[in-house]
């Protein structure tokens, strides 16, 4: 890989609550190359969004980025630079597209105002120039009659148009990296496709890198080149997108893929991964996925797996890499057995 645009090394973001220390992001490392689109995938509660907010250093007390975490960007460590320098990076060099276009726009200002504000914050032009840039950006993101639309309020736009406005706000300063946190989750499927296409177009046009956060592997399949799978605040697998779909290694990734609906597949019910993500205050010992894993054996509960190299650019945090013959011994995961025995006791 060429010199990466962003290099995250051992990022740890902990929240200190009365219930204990929530290790929401716990030693995450990855890189993003210039112009690359990377997918960050996982269930709710596995640390995707906290990772994204950490990159922009938007973690608020009682949360904090632990000392020793490195977020190298523009040859600076974003984990430690002062707030003023960080503000200059937010929106200008790294920006973010939020999930809910309904709530990501301020209801009391026109959309033109809100895009122009980003330009003004970064001191990139007069009021007039900022407005012109906002209108131009609205046109770029495919909003018809942008000069008129700029004068409208968010509630006057449809969901799809609002998300385009949110994207316009994120891109107006031509940032090097855009973090898109579930940008299509709140939209209709047809609009989803349009928005993904728009992101891909804009990326080609501006050479922006995109970190696409999603729980939807379908979205990942059509828009990214590399996928990072997170579970329990850790990276559990990372692979080029084709390889991931063809030969996922980690049982969690396997489970996610199995839970995807597929055209032409006759199945009465979708497969699920049993159980749910444990609370970040109490990750299981050993492999954090072992209680939900259909292959887990005693080693998994005892020994925390490292990231094993599987192939070129493909790593997996699973002991199966060490003992591949275990893959033949599929069984019910621990959570299912616990639930079954618990049920037997009560009846």
């Amino acid at each position: 890989m060429a010199e990466p645009l962003l290099r995250v090394h051992d990022l740890r973001t902990y929240f200190y609550s009365e219930a204990g220390v929530a290790r929401s992001v716990d030693g995450v490392s990855f890189e993003i190359a210039p112009g690359e689109t990377v997918g960050l995938v996982g269930e709710s509660g596995c640390g995707k969004s906290v990772t994204a907010l950490s990159l922009l250093r938007l973690i608020r007390p009682p949360g904090r980025i632990e000392p020793g975490s490195e977020i190298t960007f523009d040859s600076k460590n974003l984990a430690t630079i002062d707030e003023k320098s960080m503000r200059a990076i937010r929106g200008a060099r790294i920006s973010m597209v939020f999930q809910e276009p309904m709530t990501a726009l301020n209801p009391v200002f026109t959309v033109g105002d809100q895009i122009a504000e980003v330009v003004r914050i970064h001191g990139a032009g007069s009021k007039r120039e900022a407005w012109d840039r906002a209108v131009k950006m609205l046109e770029t993101v495919g909003i018809p009659a942008p000069a008129q639309r700029a004068n409208e309020y968010p509630h006057q736009l449809s969901g799809g148009m609002r998300q385009r406005v949110v994207i316009a706000m994120a891109l107006v300063m031509n940032p090097a990296l855009v973090i898109a946190d579930e940008p299509t989750t709140a939209l209709d499927v047809t609009i989803q496709a349009q928005i993904l296409e728009l992101l891909a177009d804009l990326q080609k046009q501006f050479g922006t890198s995109i970190l696409l956060i999603t729980h939807d592997l379908g979205v990942v399949a059509e828009s990214v080149s590399r996928v990072i799978v997170m579970y329990g605040g850790e990276v559990v697998e990372e692979a080029p997108v084709r390889e991931l779909f063809a030969a996922a290694h980690h049982p969690y990734t396997e489970g996610l893929l199995g839970a995807m609906p597929q055209v032409g597949q006759e199945r009465e019910r979708l497969a699920t991964i049993p159980g749910s993500v444990p609370p970040p205050t109490a990750w299981p010992t050993g492999c954090r996925f072992h209680d939900r894993c259909p292959y887990a054996w005693d080693r998994c509960a005892a020994e925390h797996p490292p990231l094993y190299q599987i192939g070129g650019g493909h790593v997996s945090r699973c002991h199966l890499a060490d003992e591949p013959q275990r893959r033949a011994e599929k069984h019910e995961p621990l959570v299912v057995m616990a639930a079954a025995s618990g049920g037997a006791r009560t009846s």
Partner: protein, 294 residues
Amino acid sequence: MSSSVRGPLSRLFAVRSARWAIVVIGLLTLGALIGWFVIGQKANYQPDIVGLKNARPSLSHPFGTDQFSRDVFARVLTGAAISLSIGALAVVFATVVGATYGLVAGYFGGRADTVMMRVLDGLMSIPRVLLLVAVLTVSHPGLAGLILLLGATGWFTVARLVRAEVLTIREADFIAAARALGASSRATIWRHLLPNVAAPVIVSATLGVGNVIALEAGLSYLGIGAQPPTPSWGSIFLDGVPYGLTAWWVLLFPGLAIVATVLSFNILGDALRDVLDPRQVHVARPLPESAREI
């Protein structure tokens, strides 16, 4: 395009009761201006303390005269200036203090919020009327002092209201988005928080004006509000009480003025609440033609 969407003001005028309230408040304001600039000190003029004492309403004295032969109409107009400005200024003062307090507590949260809210709980536990009566009986702070006192004891509920609103809006995605795009704390508060808490604050301030005017009338009636011969509605009313059974007009007209004002501000406040409530906007507002799906 956007001309088809009506703003809150025109929607306010569409409510009949609100229209009446605005007309009444407009007339009272006009009367207050006349009372202040045209009548002024003449409200205390005593033309004939024997012949015109407690004279019935007539063409030359439409509201009659009081026990000192002063024209009640002139006094009610000048009283409008006094009472309305006490109401307005005290509420502005209370709203600025309360909104700032609530904004700071809500936005920064954490320990600052806890301490500020406990202090507020303490202040709210002091009975307002008793405090006012005690302070005003011991000292006569004048009109400016009265306004400050009414304001200083009237901001607690605004502070709570604003804090509660800020706590909700602070978590909104557009606040996070503003920060993610590089806005400073100050810019976030000014541009994103404040405009979004404005609606409930305007409503509470409008209701507050009526409330303060009624309170001031009560204090003046107790003889500790506006001091004689300054005519506030409460003090005119007080002047009429000894002759209340015969010279009913001295009680009736300032009383009507108080009721009309308080009622108008309450109606206007309720109408503003309906009009400014964003949840009602979607219902009341027809979808503009331009809102077609892309």
